[in-house]
């Protein structure tokens, strides 16, 4: 019976978070089932018992207050309990572990462009290692999209001009649907593909079987030179630009007096909209914008490179 149910009504459960979401879902199903059946049973019972002409007792006036309090307070308490439970799982979903492999995802009408840390690129397919946490760093090149993998029970909008993060640990090898879940135009229902969760040996084979020669960091380093970043930010630069070594993940004091953490979003915006946040002590007309010059994938590679810059090493690795 449960097997039949599973085939029919349950999507495969292939991530660690899926267990938690399903537990919550079934909890809600039982609770709401009891309430729905209770209300319907009461309505049907009263309709039968108090139908016109039946010989049941009738009464116009009733005491209301004790009942009103009962059926307001009990649901309230239960609902707050569900809120806390669901909030805890949501919080867990939102915080990727430090050891997660970072995979870059760029959405555009109507395809997903994926890049793995070793530089391997894929379109509409993501190969992943089983039992290893994965963090997708995502943005869009045009409209809002959404990475939805039902088997993982995760979903996150992919927003132009913003980085969003989705993470999960696949726990079962197999092929799972990848859908775009935010309406994005004509090809919306075609904007999907597959997530392949591989066993360690198969994954190693997949990784090796590649013509890619350049890792994300190396590609970023190449861009750093080729696009003229190094001319100002490099070790031998003559122009006075903020040094980038070791800034990733650390606080940066801005000319406005505010302090921000140099995360992916900060570096992304500093490349594309350099006037937005000026580092304290630097003129605001030093850096040209790269809006329209660099694609989102290239910006992600540059960020990968800047992340990899150590705090002491001065140059390009």
């Amino acid at each position: 019976m449960t097997a039949l149910l599973a085939v029919w009504f349950l999507p495969p459960r292939a991530s660690d978070i899926a267990r938690e979401v399903d537990a919550l879902f079934y909890g809600l199903l039982v609770l709401c089932g009891i309430i729905a059946i209770g209300v319907c049973a009461a309505v049907v019972l009263f309709c039968l018992r108090y139908r016109q002409g039946s010989n049941a007792t009738r009464q116009a006036e009733q005491k209301t207050i004790p009942l009103e309090i009962t059926w307001s307070v009990i649901p309230l308490v239960i609902f707050i309990g569900i809120f806390i439970w669901a909030g805890a799982v949501y919080f867990h979903m939102s915080k990727p572990p430090d050891n997660a492999t970072e995979v870059h995802v760029v959405g555009k009408q109507w395809m997903w462009k994926i890049q793995h840390p070793n530089g391997r690129r894929e379109i509409n397919e993501i190969h992943l290692l089983v039992n290893h946490p994965v963090k997708l760093l995502m943005t869009s090149q045009d409209v809002i999209h959404d990475v939805f993998v039902p088997a993982f029970r995760t979903k996150q909008d992919v927003v132009p001009g913003r980085y969003t993060i989705e993470w999960f640990t696949p726990i079962k090898t197999g092929d799972y649907h990848l859908f775009c879940a935010e309406y994005c135009g004509d090809g919306h229902s075609r904007m999907g593909g597959w997530v392949h969760v591989l066993a360690p040996d198969a994954y190693a084979k997949w990784l090796a079987d590649t013509s890619t020669t350049e890792t994300v960091v190396a590609a970023g380093a190449r861009l750093f030179q080729a696009r003229g970043c190094a001319g100002c930010h490099g070790p031998n630069a003559t122009v006075h630009a903020p040094p980038l070594n070791g800034i990733f993940g650390h606080p940066v004091a801005l000319s406005t007096g505010k302090t921000v953490i140099a995360d992916e979003q900060y570096i992304h915006d500093s490349i594309l909209q350099p006037k937005k946040d000026i580092v304290a002590g630097y003129p605001d007309n030093l850096m040209p914008t790269y809006q329209g010059q660099l694609g989102e994938e290239e910006v992600m590679e540059l960020i990968g490179y800047i992340k990899a810059l150590g705090s002491t090493s001065g140059g390009v690795p």
Binding site: Q52, Q62, T64, F83, V89, V143, F148, Q156, S189, R190
Partner: protein
């Protein structure tokens, strides 16, 4: 022996005026009428036409979804169809449905008034509505719009083809009709109540219409502003929402849902008011917990303004904002739950009379309960992440808006039809329609809950093959639903000529509207009613005694 039902005021003396339908007969007299009842009829005809347009779009969508490849129409056409369906059904059917048809017709009469506070503004509302509708229809005929009813940026402002601005203009104009109607009703309830009709003697329908009107007045301007900003970006490239030109796409979602979540309550509160009226009348018992039902409407209207962010749990909104919106969403479910429990308790020890309006209300309670409870799944953060933007959401809000509001609208039409037309409809066919709609609705939308949990995203022209069986079931249900909707259209029209004459108060109901003729004269009442009774002075004991006495009389002598 007590009366079965004591009206709120003494019945009107005999009225020797022609009724509102025949008092003037020219087309001009209809198009320039300031009579709230005639305006209600104008709205009824116009929203029925819009319902047919929105329904046709839904039919084509359901047919297309019979096969995983979406063989019937192209993806472009499909995207236009769901946009038409959403825009027309939300703004040109559901939002005006109960308020402008039933509200316009019965609200002033329930208050014992001759008309609404601003009759000419009321007519202007209808012209704004129809003018806006004309823009929307023009946008559809001229080539359509494929943004979805939500107009998310930057898709709508930069990338979409089609007549986005014309469609938005239509909604913008119709919105002012809504604002004017809301304003009119608020002033009417404050200033036009009959002598003796204190706030706590108001029928619950009035409370729900009042709460709805407050939302209409406060929320609709935000929609207008949002659409203008979107159109400015689209027409002139002013960067507001598109990050490529310096805008913020999330800002649009905040503004849109700041209107559209309260709008969800515009699409259910009036239905709740209808349910309260009908359930009291047909169980011959005052609504259980009048104060709780009345003030829960107000609570819904207020809380409804602070839950918009629950549409944005995966939008990249801050997770802490998500938590606040989640707990507030659980809170807003409490007043709705209170209503359902109170309606159920109203049946207890009543004297239940199974007439068509009551059957629709039973359908409402069942479907609204499921719709409301599935809302809890979507308020629960981690579950929403999986379910949002899937068919689960589609099923959820159709249970509320179609299962709830459309059932209530049809229930209300059946309840007040004798007052509106002066005629009765064929009871058996009407009961059949309620049954068809209930069965067809469940078959259409219940499979969509499962589809959603399985992971089928919404707004998909083509889908993975494993979703086909449930989609076919859903389409099958939709065809039953369609029959259910066509039945009332047919027999209401038939009844205008051939229906049994209804008389003033065929249901033995207590509201002021039942103390005057059916159909009422132009100014509703011959003398101003003086309200002496509470709203639901029904007596189930007396109803049973009267029924027993009637049966005894009918029995042949040898049994007696």
């Amino acid at each position: 022996m007590n009366a079965i039902a004591t009206p709120q005021a003494a019945p009107q003396p005999p009225i020797h005026e022609p009724n509102y339908l025949v008092v003037e007969n020219t087309v001009r007299s209809w198009l320039l009428t300031t009579d709230h009842k005639r305006i209600g009829i104008l709205y009824m005809i116009s929203i029925t036409l819009f319902f047919l347009v929105g329904g046709a779009a839904a039919t084509l969508m359901r047919l297309n979804l019979l096969t995983p490849q979406g063989a019937l129409v192209t993806s472009t056409t499909y995207n236009k169809l769901f946009t038409i369906h959403g825009v027309i059904m939300v703004w040109f059917f559901l939002i005006p449905s109960v308020p402008t048809v039933i509200g316009n017709f019965v609200l002033p009469m329930m208050l014992g008034a001759r008309d609404v506070a601003f009759p000419r503004l009321n007519l202007a509302s209808w012209y704004l509505f129809v003018g806006g509708g004309a823009f929307a229809l023009w946008a559809i005929i001229a080539g359509g719009v494929d943004t979805g009813w939500t107009f998310y940026t930057p898709y709508s402002s930069t990338y979409a083809n089609g007549h986005v601005i014309a469609m938005a203009t239509g909604i913008f104009i119709a919105g002012f009709g809504s604002i004017a109607t809301g304003l009119n009703f608020i002033v009417t309830v404050h200033k036009m109540r009959a002598p003796g009709l204190t706030w706590h003697k108001l029928p619950l329908f009035v409370w729900s219409m009042y709460s709805t009107s407050v939302i209409l007045v406060l929320a609709t301007p935000v929609l207008a502003i949002t659409l203008v900003l979107m159109a400015l970006e689209r027409a002139f490239g002013i960067g507001i929402f598109d990050p490529a030109i310096g805008g913020d796409p999330l800002l649009f979602q905040h503004l849109f849902w700041f209107y559209s979540h309260p709008a969800v309550y515009i699409m259910i509160l009036p239905g709740m008011g209808v349910v309260s009226e009908i359930i009291a009348c047909f169980s011959r018992k005052a609504v259980f917990g009048y104060y709780f039902v009345a003030y829960s409407s107000v609570a819904i209207a207020v809380l409804g303004f602070v839950v918009w962010g629950h549409h944005m749990f995966v939008s990249s909104q801050s997770i802490y904002a998500g938590m606040v919106f989640s707990i507030l969403s659980f809170l807003v479910s409490i007043p709705s739950a209170i209503k359902v429990f109170n309606w159920t308790a109203t049946l207890y020890r009543g004297s239940i009379w199974f007439q068509t309006p009551f059957l629709y209300v039973l359908g409402f309670i069942g479907l609204f309960t499921i719709g409301g409870l599935t809302g809890l799944f979507l308020a629960a953060l981690a579950v929403d992440v999986h379910l949002t933007d899937t068919y689960f959401v589609i099923a959820h809000f159709h249970y509320i808006m179609v299962g709830g509001m459309v059932m209530a609208y049809l229930g209300g039409l059946h309840y007040w039809w004798p007052k509106i037309s002066g005629r009765m409809y064929p009871e058996l066919l009407a009961k059949l329609s309620a049954l068809f709609i209930f069965a067809g609705f469940n078959l259409t939308f219940f499979p969509q809950f499962i589809l959603g949990y399985l992971g089928m995203p919404r707004r998909y022209h083509a889908y993975a093959p494993e979703f086909q069986v449930l989609n076919v079931l859903s389409t099958a249900g939709a065809s039953i639903l369609a029959i259910g909707y066509f039945l009332p259209l047919a027999y209401f029209l038939w009844s205008l000529r051939y229906g049994k004459v209804a008389g003033r108060n065929p249901w033995n109901a207590t509201g002021l509207e039942w103390t005057t003729d059916s159909p009422p004269p132009k100014h509703n009442f011959a003398v101003v009613p003086v309200v002496t009774e509470p709203p639901y002075a029904y007596d189930p004991v007396a109803a049973e005694e009267a029924l027993a006495a009637e049966r005894k009389q009918r029995e042949p002598a040898y049994v007696r």
